[in-house]
Amino acid sequence: MLGLLVSLLSSTIAPDPVAADRAIAVKVDQVYTGEGEVLRGGYLIIRDGILVDVAAASVPEGAWVLEYPGASACPGFIDPVTGLGAGRNLQEPARAVLPQAHAKHSLAPFHRDFRQAARQGLITVGLSPTSDNLIGGHLAVVRTSGPEEAAAFVQDGPMRMALVDDAFEWNRAPTSRMGAMHLLRQEIGEDFADSVVIDARSADQIRLSLELLGGSGQSVTVLHATEADEVRDSLAAAGASVILGPYTLSSSRHDLKLAAELADSGVPVAFTGNGHAAHLRTTAALAMKEGLPAKEALRALTSVPAKILGVEKESGTLAKGKRADLLIFSGHPLDLASRLEAVMIAGLPIELGSTESPKKGQGQ
């Protein structure tokens, strides 16, 4: 019933470039801002793709009004570390230390991965070099749906690093961690990147990451952080954040509890779904099952990854002045029983595509 209503509405407000400056008013039952707040009963007002009000009492004159009874809105999801559309082009074994590399050069804007991601509600992603280098190069911050339905490079992301076994090759210097640490201490100086995402899983790798970084004021994000529970106090003291996931139904209880434990210690947690919005939602739901509060779980898909990627000024929350990237769910965004009803990118609903399988004889 709701789906029908929405699809009717969508068809009546097909994007109209002539009326780009026309205000849009969105009415849902709950607005989850991505900062922990829940707003009820007001309109979200969008002008020129920007949110100008998130709890307006009335609709501006001449505005398109989109009503989604019973639904809720949340910010577009952000996955900080993905390889969307890049295949193996983010894996460069040439050297262990490669700060000159930049993932934007492996961006394939017309790849269908991006269109698919946008339709599932994944609006912003970090395109990241893999863990095959100690220093792998810059992440690229990418919008999955820009002009002409192509992905668009937004800005430079953090520097990608790794201390895990994958970062070592038997025939590439260095082959030992002591060799790696020596090299990294030389490389990481005053003018090294401001922000770093580092793959470190064991407690010891996390300890070394914090020892290496943060001294010159870098913001540090630990990727995977499997044993972060053993060093959570030092993570909190260093002001570091972590990226966990993706979780599946077979993830261990220890892993699932980690998000709650870290959030409880004041360590900001973001989730990755390897570029799949569905995995992001499952990951958040499984972490909630082991005690992560719902508002922290939503933050982990929105405002925390926005901060990690350095786009928190325009994305990651629903607030005045932010880009109107929003998702409309039939219920709570992280309830797996909720349906994604609409995706609005910069204020415009995008075509979600048919959920029906193609009929026989009708090639698509």
């Binding site: 002591m178 790696a180 010891d204």
Partner: protein, 424 residues
């Protein structure tokens, strides 16, 4: 078993009720049947007083500070914490230990490769080993600097100061078949190819590196990156030449022991021998040069990383006694052995084979600390030393005894007795 133990410590239940803990700032007096101080002395009965992580008094009945909480350990026996002076952590770790990209890496530090959260430290503590010198893997001709660690505590606090030393190896691990070294073949060329593949090749690398270091120092010019070495490695070797950094040789076979001596004479260096399984064939040389020997493991079977690469050595179970008789400074190492191959068992076997018990205990405590250059803090239960103590449920080092309480820097690292439980 449990019955026997609870009977053994029956007298202690009372003490436990006094809510004794090993908290910082508290003074503990451990009273037991015997105290073996590691320096050849046995106090019977014995009392050790511990305060702020240090031993403050030891003896048959030393004067007790008024604040001291007396813990009656019944029939148990105290010894110093055991020390392994050449522990191969690499075989217990999935962290990369051997740097294959160069055969000369004296500027690197093993501490960077140590997983400080490794569970092996808890295992060692449980077996009475309270300090280990983590020795570099033998894959380099001139390897990295080792690190001394306590097996108690957590994270970075495990690392303790000790005079630095680098490790050299001319044996097969650094040349012929270690890691991935190989002769050039086909068109398969990478950095492994240029490494030495023979003993004379390794010796050449050793001499070339030290000759460059010496020449740069004598000419008073700064080192530059050159063939097989970097400015940093040359600077580190100059520290060795000037005596600020020590040199260890891993030399299992007699002819390696002789080569080590020849090279050290050439460059005016002193050195320590690691493992040295055929040291009994060079007793005169070692006694004359007073070269310290870290001997082990006792059965002369190469273990761990070297198991598959080591030349066969001729085992001699009496080697520790022969070293002792020849007045060669030595200590015992388990190499990478745990459990029945662990340090306590190795020292115990030396006793069974005829070594004096106190000498065997010293060989895994006091003598190891002396060879490491930390004899003023570790290895002996004496006032002012770190409170690294092991309480045995019988005679220390016996096959029938095991550590039941281990204190490291005065903190409980392992406790089966419940003696120090807080029951308030």
């Amino acid at each position: 078993m449990i019955m026997a133990r609870s009977k053994q410590f029956a007298g202690l239940a009372v003490a436990a009720l006094l809510s004794v803990t090993a908290e910082a700032g508290e003074t503990l007096a451990l009273r037991c049947r015997q105290v073996h101080d590691g320096n050849g002395e046995v106090f019977e009965p014995g009392v050790v007083v511990v305060e702020d992580g240090k031993v403050v008094a030891v003896g048959q009945s030393p004067a007790l500070p008024s604040a001291a909480k007396v813990v009656d350990c019944g029939e148990a026996v105290l010894s110093p914490g055991l020390i392994d002076a050449a522990w191969q952590l690499g075989t217990h770790s999935d962290v990369g230990f051997s740097e294959q990209s160069s055969e000369v890496i004296p500027h690197l530090h093993v501490a960077d490769s140590v997983d400080l959260h490794s569970e092996v430290f808890e295992t060692l503590a449980r077996e009475g080993v309270t300090s280990v010198y983590v020795t570099p893997e033998a894959a380099s001709v001139l390897g990295s600097q080792g690190a001394l660690l306590k097996t108690g505590g957590a994270g970075i606090s495990r690392l303790v100061d000790c005079p630095p030393s680098i490790k050299a190896n001319l044996g097969p691990e650094s040349s012929r078949r270690a890691g991935w070294n190989r002769r050039p073949f086909s068109n398969n060329v990478d950095f492994h190819v240029r490494r030495p593949t023979t003993r004379m090749g390794s010796t050449w690398v050793f001499r070339k590196a030290f000759a460059s270091a010496k020449e740069y120092a004598e000419l008073g010019i700064e080192a530059v990156n050159g063939e097989g070495h970097t400015e940093e490695s040359i600077a580190a070797l100059q520290e060795v030449l000037s005596g600020k950094v020590g040199l260890r040789f891993q030399a299992r076979k007699a002819h390696d022991i002789h080569t080590a001596q020849r090279l050290c004479t050439e460059f005016g260096l002193t050195h320590i021998l690691e493992y040295a399984q055929e040291a009994y064939e060079c007793l005169e040389l070692l006694a004359e040069t007073r070269t310290p020997v870290i001997f082990g493991p006792l059965d002369a079977q190469a273990r761990g990383m070297t198991r598959n690469f080591g030349d066969r050595t001729k085992p001699c179970l009496r080697a520790p006694m022969l070293l002792q008789e020849a007045n060669v400074p030595f200590c015992l190492t388990a190499c990478d052995g745990l459990g029945e191959s662990g340090l306590a068992r190795i020292a115990g076997r030396a006793v069974r084979l005829g070594m004096d018990r106190e000498a065997a205990l010293a060989a895994v405590s006091k003598d190891a600390a002396a060879i490491l250059g930390v004899g003023d803090r570790l290895g002996v239960i004496a006032a002012g030393n770190d409170a690294d103590l092991v309480l045995w449920n019988g005679t220390p080092l016996d096959d029938t005894s095991k550590p039941v309480l281990v204190l490291i820097d005065g903190q409980v690292a392992h406790d089966e007795t419940g003696l120090l439980d807080d029951e308030s």
